[in-house]
């Protein structure tokens, strides 16, 4: 927790900048026209980049908002930027107008009052969001409170090449398989988002009762709770690709490894990623996905607006468009992104619903029933400590 504590210590007393007022949507739309919105979003996935470019075309067409995708290698860069700007007194027109965010980065920014809002629940399309059925009001156990707007649902799945292996049922069987087939599995190097997700998924699956993870980690329980994870990793690491001496930098980098036949199994946070990658020739068409018997971690992806954005209206228009049935249906199209929708199908008109119903699932995408139960994200404090410890144990060589 030292990161968060420090940020909190640095934070100036809460500055409430409720301008522009999100509830006056006409005024927001009027102000948004002609604004340029710098959306800082992770740029490592070319399918996502294409989707963002499409969003840019659409909001320019309908609302006169110019959307610029600032491609990040790490979302934390954007957080740093906003922090630095506040230190420098740039409170009016910072470099960033919108961030693709969730989890610890959101928690840090919210706690430090670096976010504009609340705005999400005032957006017109919030009405069609499935705010009851989907975890869009908490983000890694942290209450969202309208400071970020959801735009996609994600759930952990494992991509595997059916030409070389069978689906696995839990983390223990993955370990057994990896031991029997050394060098055929790896995961992105933490602190990469997906890498830490693998560690969390492993811990959740290894614990008999994962509910302890919903509360903040303490010095008392941390070592004991995470012990099974370190035992698991100590056994797994020597069986990994390159014996764990190198890791792919990010999730998409795993796709190339599967395509080359270097590994057979990889983690993904997007049930539709495998299908989209097969369509883009990035994966062989023998790849399918599976989930663990006890379910896998799920969460939502959000967009947030920094407190010092000079184009908050434009950013809200983009956030609202992302929650529109049009954008959601496109994001769910397995040939485009294959992201899960945040919308409530019952709240949509028949026409709007039809756009979703006609979507094919895709060859490698599991149906909602097959995806099974969603496990909750642990409190961010667990991830921060586990990522730090992972770096100590496996990240600096032996």
């Amino acid at each position: 927790m030292k990161h968060l504590a420090l940020i909190a210590a640095l934070a100036a007393p809460s500055i409430v900048l409720a301008t522009p007022d999100p509830s006056d949507w006409d005024a927001v739309m009027a102000e948004a026209d002609g604004q340029t919105v710098y959306w800082n979003a992770w740029g490592g996935s070319t399918t996502t980049n294409d989707f963002i470019a499409w969003v840019g075309d659409r909001v320019a067409e309908d609302y006169g908002v110019i959307l610029e995708h600032v491609k990040l290698t790490d979302t934390a860069d954007a957080v740093t930027r906003v922090l630095s700007e506040r230190q420098a007194g740039e409170n009016e027109d910072g470099a960033i107008d919108m961030i693709w965010i969730n989890g610890s980065n959101f928690a840090a920014m919210k706690q430090a009052d670096l976010l504009f809002g609340p705005f999400a629940e005032q957006l017109p399309n919030w009405a069609v969001v499935d705010s009851e059925g989907k975890t869009v009001q908490t983000d890694f156990t942290v209450p969202v409170e309208g400071y970020e707007a959801p735009w996609a649902m994600a759930q952990v799945v494992f991509m595997y090449d059916t030409a070389d292996m069978d689906a696995q049922s839990d983390m223990t069987s993955i370990l057994e398989w990896s031991t029997a087939h050394p060098g055929r599995f790896t995961y992105p190097q933490p602190p990469d988002f997906l890498g830490t997700t693998f560690l969390k998924q492993a811990l959740v699956d290894l614990l008999d009762d994962a509910s302890v993870l919903q509360a903040e980690a303490t010095d008392e329980n941390y070592a004991e709770v995470t012990a099974p994870l370190w035992d698991f990793l100590d056994a797994l690491t020597p069986t990994l690709w390159r014996e764990g001496r190198a890791y792919p930098a990010t999730g998409p980098a795993q796709l190339q490894l599967i395509a080359d036949g270097e590994v057979d199994l990889a983690i993904s946070f997007s049930p539709g990623e495998a299908t989209a990658a097969i369509a883009n020739s990035q994966l062989p068409d023998t790849v399918r996905t599976f989930v663990l018997d006890r379910g896998t971690i799920g969460n939502a992806s959000f967009v947030a607006i920094p407190y010092n954005s000079g184009s908050a209206s434009g950013a809200m228009v983009v956030a609202n468009f992302l929650m529109s049935p049009e954008a959601q249906a496109r994001a769910q199209d397995p040939n485009i992104l294959g992201y899960g929708t945040v919308l409530n199908m019952d709240a949509l008109s028949a026409d709007e619903r039809a756009a979703f119903d006609t979507l094919e699932l895709g060859v490698a995408t599991l149906s909602p029933a097959e995806l099974g139960s969603v496990q909750a994200e642990p409190h961010p404090s667990w991830m921060t400590r586990i990522a730090d410890d992972w770096a100590e144990r496996y990240g600096v060589g032996q």
């Binding site: 420090l6 070319t46 740093t80 890791y247 998409p252």
Partner: protein, 558 residues
């Protein structure tokens, strides 16, 4: 006005370096008032020492720098000793010259596509020779010893040092010395090493230092080819500097000072090595060893030189093939399908970035040309040529590791509320573009026959008239070459664009390196190829424009 240009140029070049170092020193000693921290304190260094990867990262920085520099220099020197003046030499020289402008990142991608266990080489020999139907689980890229990183640096530094050596040879009159040595019974290589090398090395010493400092602190190549558990010190510095926890910036700043100290140490070590080799060389000369059986050395040096240039050329070919590849399974040597889909997907954005890249490069190089031409003209009119100390100052921005001053510069810019975006990026690029433009233009400018100016003056032409109507047109070719060099330098800038641009300025290099983490070889192929074009096209223009412009002026092509 003209009198102030040299000072202004020095300021443009060294001002950001000095300011950036200052912006690094303060937080390194715990002083970052913006974050509510005031120093002095040694805590940042304590945190740094506590980092478990420190020893490995520092060792990597030293070993990659020293090994890459020694190997590059050895290949170049042995090749020049064994082959200069031959047709083979000219052939390889022609092959290597364009490689100079290939951006480091593009070359690194190409090499990665080539030597990875799933790379082109493995594909070509599999499964027939190796029996591999899947890529072997070998740690070839990202290896903890940094061997892939060293290879990536060597293939780029060999062309640089070779061209520097060839430039130095022009002044050393090697042919006569070699003839005398050979008539005394010395072998070609031994004779060259004993008679020509000492003079040549004196000329290329500073470029060698630049290679050493660069190799130790490079970020983009290390992110592509270097290890990650832990990464090199410079990559780790960039990570710390980007951490949301501001206190990690202090650690990063402390590490940046360590990086600077390591570079200074390595330069001193190298300097000591020069002395030792000079001493040993004198003993060797006194022995009168004539050098027999030099054929193996010549063959090996030719082999290494060829492999190093072929690696880059094949690598770029690999980028091209991946950019049009459909699914491409191992161990097929060519894609299972060829498609233009990748260009459809990434081409438009890449072309847009191409535009941004050229706006930044164009303005930076334009400013550099004004300053450099102004300095050279001032030098001409005052009759005082650049002193040896002046040349050191020119090289200084290239000797200070980028990671030591660019993050500090960013902090300073933020603190004074400077607008982010293109303008600061252009000035940051100028720091690196200026020395190269100066070095590239200086010699041809000075070797221009000043009697032309006397004649033009005697004909009643003012000094500025001489400058615009006589000197600039006569020097069209070197000026265009210097422009191309400047553009190539700007196109290749990674850290200066990333850190100073705050993400808002995307060039082909930053986009390509950002894609590296995603591992999408098709997208990397498109961007890497565009990046290579962006650097090569200006060189092609620098060759063809004068040919077209002066097609009826034979005297301009001598």
């Amino acid at each position: 006005m003209l009198r102030f240009l040299p000072a202004l140029t020095l300021f443009a070049m060294l001002g950001p370096v000095a300011a950036g170092l200052w912006g690094t020193v303060l937080p390194a000693f715990g002083h970052l008032p913006a974050a509510g921290l005031t120093g002095p304190s040694l805590d940042p260094f304590r945190t740094l020492l506590d980092w478990a990867g420190l020893a490995s990262a520092s060792r990597l920085s030293l070993s990659t720098g020293l090994i890459a520099t020694s190997v590059s220099l050895a290949i170049v020197i042995l090749f020049v000793a064994g082959w200069s003046g031959t047709r083979t030499f000219r052939l390889l020289e022609r092959l290597l010259s364009p490689l100079l402008s290939v951006p480091h990142a593009a070359a690194a991608f190409g090499l990665a596509f080539l030597i990875a266990p799933s790379g082109w080489i493995a594909r070509l020999v599999s499964p027939t020779l190796t029996g591999w139907d899947r890529p072997p689980d070998l740690l070839i890229l990202q290896d903890p010893l940094g061997l892939a990183l060293i290879a990536g640096l060597v293939v780029k530094e060999v062309p640089f040092l070779l061209l520097m050596t060839i430039a130095a040879l022009g002044q050393a009159q090697p042919r006569r010395s070699l003839m005398v040595a050979q008539s005394l019974g010395y072998g070609r290589v031994t004779g060259w090493l004993k008679t020509v090398f000492p003079r040549v090395y004196d000329q290329i010493r500073l470029p060698v230092y630049v290679v050493l400092a660069y190799s130790m602190s490079v970020v983009d190549v290390a992110m592509i080819l270097g290890p990650s558990t832990p990464p090199t010190l410079s990559v780790q510095i960039v990570k710390w500097m980007g951490d949301p926890d501001l206190s990690m910036r202090l650690t990063g700043a402390a590490a940046a000072l360590l990086q600077l100290a390591l570079v200074i140490f390595a330069l001193a070590f190298w300097w000591g090595g020069e002395r030792a080799i000079a001493w040993l060389g004198r003993i060797w000369i006194e022995t009168g060893h004539r050098g027999q059986k030099e054929a193996p050395i010549r063959v090996i040096s030719l082999g290494l030189g060829s492999v190093s240039s072929l690696a880059v050329l094949l690598g770029i070919a690999g980028l091209a093939v991946w950019s049009v590849a459909g699914f491409w399974s191992f161990p097929n040597s060519l894609p299972d399908a060829i498609t233009l889909k990748n260009w459809d997907r990434h081409g438009p954005a890449a072309f847009q970035t191409f535009g941004e890249t050229f706006i930044v490069a164009g303005i930076a190089v334009g400013l550099a040309l004004i300053l450099v031409l102004g300095c050279l003209e001032a030098e001409h009119r005052s009759g005082r040529p650049l002193s040896r100390r002046g040349i050191w100052l020119l090289y200084l921005p290239l000797l200070v590791p980028q990671t030591a001053f660019l993050p500090g510069l960013q902090t300073l810019l933020l603190n004074i509320g400077a607008d982010i975006g293109r303008a600061p990026v252009i000035f940051a690029h100028l720091v690196f573009v200026l020395p190269y433009v100066f070095l590239s233009l200086g010699d041809p400018w000075r070797s221009w026959d000043t009697r032309n100016a006397t004649v033009a003056g005697a004909l009643g032409t003012t000094p500025w008239g001489v400058f615009w109507r006589v000197r600039l047109p006569m020097l069209t070719r070197p000026i265009l070459t210097a422009t191309a060099v400047g553009i190539a330098v700007s196109v290749g800038q990674y850290l200066a664009t990333l850190i100073i641009g705050g993400g808002r300025v995307a060039t082909l290099t930053t986009e390509a390196v950002a894609l590296a983490s995603g591992g999408d070889r098709r997208a990397i192929g498109v961007y890497g190829l565009m990046q290579t074009f962006a650097a090569l096209v200006p060189f092609a223009l620098a060759l063809t424009i004068p040919t077209l412009l002066w097609r009826n002026r034979r005297g301009m092509h001598e």
